[in-house]
């Protein structure tokens, strides 16, 4: 696609429910990143995928968080048994590591856990 696409743009859920957030990167971009931004804060790295390499999961805050990237393209971030502190904007970015490696972000998915 022309840009990074994320869905849903907004998600309200109840504490304890599972949620899935989707990211469709720019066509041809081999690298995909998930970041989290809590209200008024900076960007917190979550996970990074590059081609067929093992993902860098070093930023995932707990084992309730997981992500996969199927076919080297679309990625899904799953949060199990959501907690109120999971409320944040989840941002996805992609980059073309055969070029400059510049990151391009989607518009984010705003998660609210009640």
């Amino acid at each position: 696609g022309a840009g990074v696409s994320q869905s849903p743009s907004n998600k309200v859920t109840e504490k304890g429910k599972d949620v899935e957030l989707r990211c469709d990167p720019i066509s041809g971009h081999t690298a995909l990143y998930w970041y989290r931004q809590s209200l008024g804060q900076g960007l917190e790295f979550l996970i990074y995928f590059q081609g067929n390499s093992a993902p860098d999961k070093s930023g995932l805050p707990s084992d309730r968080f997981s992500a996969e990237r199927t076919g080297g393209s679309v990625s899904t971030l799953t949060i199990q048994r959501t907690q109120q502190e999971d409320s944040a904007v989840y941002l996805c970015a992609s980059s073309n590591l055969r070029g400059s490696g510049e990151l391009f972000f989607g518009e984010g998915s705003r998660l609210t856990v009640l």
Binding site: G42, G101, E102, F105
Partner: protein, 109 residues
């Protein structure tokens, strides 16, 4: 990992004024970007600038890689420049980029 320090944390300007935002890195980086996060939360790419100087309209950026810092200049500021400015960097071609905490700019009419 790399630490990124941005200054100032907050900046209030009158429309038409100029400003300089700074980003310091704890280690050398070979991939450095500046972003503007608008009031709607969208991250807009401003500059990819691992070294040297670039200009785009009223904005310009300079990175001194050997000194591990980058500067973003905003001239003749406008109210639409308001928002949060982030820098981010990494020292590998691949891998995660680390973000600073941002500079919140408010331009008053």
């Amino acid at each position: 990992g790399i630490q990124v320090e941005q200054s100032p944390p907050d900046l209030i300007l009158q429309e038409g004024a100029n400003s300089t935002l700074r980003c310091n890195f704890s280690d050398s980086v070979n991939n450095l970007q500046w972003f503007h996060q608008n009031p709607w939360g969208q991250l807009i790419n401003l500059f990819y600038i691992p070294s040297g100087t670039k200009q785009n309209g009223r904005l310009s950026a300079t990175t001194v890689a050997t000194e591990r810092y980058s500067l973003l200049y905003i001239s003749s500021s406008q109210t639409t420049d308001s928002g949060v400015y982030f820098c981010a960097g990494r020292n590998t071609n691949a891998g995660k980029s680390t973000f600073g905490d941002g500079t919140t700019l408010t331009v008053k009419p």
